[in-house]
């Protein structure tokens, strides 16, 4: 017993040391309360069940510990001979059953509320891609400018590779967050363009799988403006750990302003697709797009990870006929992880990244591809 006591003491002391050493670090022990009615209900339910379980644990482990301390042979305990009692068995079948019923009642109530997706004021499509999210805001009619964009991890590869210090929101930052109004019922329509993903924001208590070919829905009313972060929660391949979710909840007026701005920006991009791109701009923008979309597979320096992910540096497809490069980017490569980017990037971005891969990593074609050329290629297939 003494040796065990020492062990426990040692364990307790070392635990204490760990804790004090990391006091400034986050020692988050519990689920967030969150910022929606649903998340608070979920938290409440979680705590109710937790305390039930603790109470049962105290009784069961207490009885066990008491027996271990008092009914040991070294203390001269003589074994009793009882070995069955139908009465006792019935009692400890019924009591847990009643406790479970008490747990089931609030659980049923909360779950039913989660299914009430009616009367939404704003609908947003969420589409999972390997490995980014697309958010498309539903319009009232086709003439309205559409707001639709990809949301991609913005943490740099240098941070992930430990070559520079990690930023505060390491792995939880994106280039363009989803923006929603507060105090508004927002309905999410979820699907996937490739494999399963799951869209999860803990502060909303929402987690739903996005399934290719099928549409799922859920909803949220966020009560406090703020920035809320989450991650993909269903294994979706190599970069599963690198597709975070960021949602900005803005007061409704600010949201309206943001939305109008996005519509205008969308219109401008269409205009700009007719403009000329300079080599410097193309390379700069291309590099940025490469680092967000391509670097996971094709790696820094375009060396790839052969044989699955081919190198870009010196590759035939990047240095040969520019139409081949364009075809690869726009249409993807069948039967490989190379997706069709023709509908995921706009013509300016495509022109920039095509120019980039044809002129970076020692590929010196000197080619400058223009958005108009890409646009024509997409429209006419040549």
């Amino acid at each position: 017993m003494l040796s065990k006591a020492k062990l426990w003491l040692g364990l307790a002391l070392s635990t204490l040391m760990f804790w004090s050493a990391g006091l400034q670090a986050a020692w988050e022990l519990n689920m967030p309360r969150g910022v929606t009615q649903m998340s608070r209900d979920t938290y409440g339910l979680h705590m109710t069940i937790f305390w039930w379980v603790v109470a049962i644990g105290v009784v069961v482990f207490g009885a066990m510990l008491w027996s271990i301390i008092h009914h040991r042979k070294s203390k001269g305990a003589k074994p009793a001979t009882f070995h069955e009692s139908t009465k006792v068995e019935i009692v400890w079948t019924l009591i847990p059953f009643l406790i479970l019923i008490m747990m089931a009642i609030p659980a049923t109530r909360v779950l039913t509320a989660a299914y009430d997706t009616g009367d939404s004021e704003l609908d947003i499509q969420i589409t999972g891609y390997q490995w980014r999210w697309e958010y498309t805001y539903m319009r009232e009619d086709m003439n309205e400018e559409e707001v639709s964009f990809f949301s991609i991890l913005s943490t740099s590869r240098e941070e992930i590779d430990n070559s520079i210090e990690k930023s505060e929101n390491y792995l939880l930052d994106v280039d363009r967050p989803m923006v929603i109004p507060t105090d508004t019922k927002v309905r999410f329509l979820m699907t996937s363009a490739d494999v399963l993903h799951a869209w999860w924001v803990p502060d909303f208590a929402i987690k739903k799988d996005t399934i290719p070919g099928f549409i799922n829905e859920t909803w949220v009313i966020v009560e406090e403006p703020g920035v809320y972060r989450g991650q993909c929660a269903e294994l979706c391949g190599m970069e599963h750990g690198f597709m975070p979710i960021v949602v900005h909840a803005l007061p409704p007026e600010e949201y309206d302003a943001w939305y109008a701005e996005q519509q205008q920006a969308a219109a401008e991009i269409r205009e700009l697709a007719n403009a000329e791109l300079s080599m410097e701009d193309a390379m700069a923008q291309g590099e940025q797009i490469y680092n967000q979309n391509c670097v996971a597979c094709h790696q820094a320096g375009g060396v790839g990870m052969p044989p699955v992910f081919p190198a870009i540096a010196g590759s035939e497809k990047a240095t040969g006929d520019r139409l081949v490069t364009m075809d690869t980017l726009v249409n993807g490569v069948d039967g490989t992880a190379m997706a069709a980017y023709g509908r995921q990037l706009n013509p300016i971005q495509l022109a920039a990244v095509i120019t980039f891969v044809r002129n970076a990593f020692g590929n010196d074609t000197g080619d400058l591809v223009q958005p108009t050329e890409v646009n024509a290629y997409i429209q006419e297939g040549q």
Partner: protein, 527 residues
């Protein structure tokens, strides 16, 4: 039958003894060694995972290789370590416990073992193939494992077919042995609980391993023959895959825990020197758990978007499992109550099993609550939950069994000091490893990620330290076993003062052939 020829002979010499043996003890030993080797291999993969997760950032492995490690760790531990270990114990102990001379189908027994190494050689070899091994998780959800799987997936499918065949043959053998080979006087309700739990487990295996074989066959067809069982493009449904998989997968979870219940129900009475409390209710509880395991599968899929009625049904059914499981735990505690306990290594592992398995059970009840499961699902909370029921649950029961029966197998007592050291290091290691993962999951860390946000850093390094402590402690077990085989204090036939049952009536080590004439019915007592 060959067993008839070499009556009264000892084992053959050399490698052929092991290749062609039909002796249940030899085959049992081979299963146990094989599973131990797989345990170390799967453990090594786990240490790769824990090393990568020791700190934020990518240090040691690429994300794709990390995914192969999580996948292989799961597959090897489930199919290579835990299941074969229980089959090994069944081979060794069931004939000894029911007074049978051998398993009912000795030659099939030999095949069912020997195809296993081939299955796992094939599975592990995929790691060296072009495109790498399976990287889609041990649950291999479509379409990640079909349309988007690596080329080696075909070999993975064949490996699953083979190990499934092995499990089915093993299960048939166990059922035939228990139904047909019991000594006179050994009625069903006098059988030790380990035999009972294995009988029920074997029926579960017969029911669900063919479904698993069906699922991987459908995958094979989707990949190579243009069918669309799981491919939305052809009118299939990826969610169907999950329904089929978990129809196998949930009973599979109980396949890995029911025999553990049997082991603990043998060890606790021995060291409490008191009969097991509520034997009948233990049998009924096991059967109820087995039945319920068939109607709760979709609780693994609460986030796929089932209709409300479906969610409620699976939530209620899942919560119900707590009732028979609770009965078991209460019975074990009642067995200890007013006993005369000593705390040798098997008992320490058995007590730790009851406590830590119950903690895993508690988180299981929490996970059953659908709306809260939306938060827990696919986070480290789930990882903590199922590792609590599988590691200090199933694996601790296996270690308890190894220490408990080692003297009967080898004829020598194991080193008690080293055994206790192994227990305490494992106990501390396993809790350090898995308890913080509850916090990580609640704070929002998804599972199966090779890198994580900074707020998860502290609990992750604690978990990794625990992982390495637990992992390396297992070398002590290896050492203890080898030491015990090579010699030590001679063991008596009875071995443990409070032990009951036919296996303790034969000498230690158990002779190559036992119960060639049925035991005296007077020796067969109610459990």
């Amino acid at each position: 039958m060959s067993a008839a020829h070499d009556h009264h002979h000892g084992p053959a010499k050399g490698i052929t003894r092991w290749l062609f043996t039909t002796n249940h003890k030899d085959i049992g030993s081979m299963y146990l060694w094989f599973s131990f080797a797989m345990f170390l291999l799967g453990g090594t993969f786990a240490l790769v995972i824990r090393a990568e997760l020791f700190q934020p950032g990518l240090q040691f492995v690429e994300p794709n290789f990390f995914n192969q490690m999580t996948t292989m760790h799961g597959l090897i531990m489930v199919f290579g370590a835990v299941m074969p270990a229980f089959v090994g114990l069944a081979n060794w102990m069931i004939p000894l416990m029911i007074g049978a001379p051998d398993m009912a189908l000795p030659r099939m027994n030999n095949w069912s073992f020997w195809i296993l190494p081939f299955a796992f050689a094939m599975m592990v070899s995929t790691l060296f193939m072009e495109g790498g091994g399976p990287n889609f998780g041990w649950t291999f959800y479509a379409p990640l494992s079909t349309t988007y799987g690596p080329p080696s997936t075909t070999f993975f499918i064949f490996a699953v077919h083979i190990l499934g065949a092995s499990s089915i043959m093993g299960a048939i053998n166990v059922i035939a042995t228990i139904l047909n080979m019991r000594a006179p006087g050994m009625t069903l309700m006098k059988m030790p609980l380990f035999v009972w739990t294995w009988l029920i487990t074997a029926y579960l295996l017969i029911a669900v391993m063919p479904v698993l074989a069906g699922v991987v066959t459908m995958m094979l067809f989707d990949i190579h023959f243009g069918t669309a069982f799981f491919d939305a493009a052809g009118g299939g449904d990826p969610v169907l895959f999950q329904h089929l998989f978990w129809f196998f997968g949930h009973p599979e979870v109980y396949i890995m825990i029911l025999p553990a219940f049997g082991i603990v129900s043998a060890i606790i009475p021995t060291f409490a020197r008191k009969r097991l409390f509520g034997y009948d209710s233990m049998v009924y509880a096991t059967a109820s758990i087995a039945f319920l395991s068939f109607i709760v599968w979709a609780h693994h899929m609460f986030t796929v978007g089932m209709p409300l009625a479906g969610q409620l049904f699976f939530m209620y059914a899942t919560m119900l499992i707590a009732v028979p499981t609770g009965v078991k735990v209460f019975n074990w505690v009642a067995t200890m109550f007013r006993g005369s306990m000593t705390f040798e290594t098997p008992m320490l592992f058995a007590i730790a099993f009851v406590v830590l398995f119950t903690i895993g059970g508690f988180t299981g009840v929490m996970l059953a609550i659908t709306p809260v499961d939306f938060q827990y699902h696919d986070t480290y909370f789930v990882v903590a939950h199922f590792h609590y029921v599988l590691v200090p649950g199933a694996v601790f029961s296996l270690m308890a069994a190894a220490y408990y029966w080692l003297p009967k197998w080898t004829g020598y007592m194991y080193d008690e000091t080293l055994g206790k050291l192994h227990f305490w290091l494992s106990f501390i290691g396993v809790n350090l490893l898995f308890f913080p993962q509850h916090f990580l999951g609640l704070a929002g860390m998804p599972r199966r990620i090779p890198d994580y946000a900074l707020q998860f850093a502290d609990f992750n390094w604690i978990s990794s330290v625990g992982g390495f402590l637990f992992g390396f402690s297992q070398l002590i077990l290896l050492f203890v076993i080898i030491k015990c085989i090579r010699g030590g204090k001679k063991a008596t036939a009875q071995v443990w003062e409070g032990a009951q049952g036919l296996e303790w009536t034969v000498p230690s080590p158990a002779p190559y052939h036992t119960f060639e004439t049925p035991p005296d019915p007077a020796l067969i007592k109610a459990q």
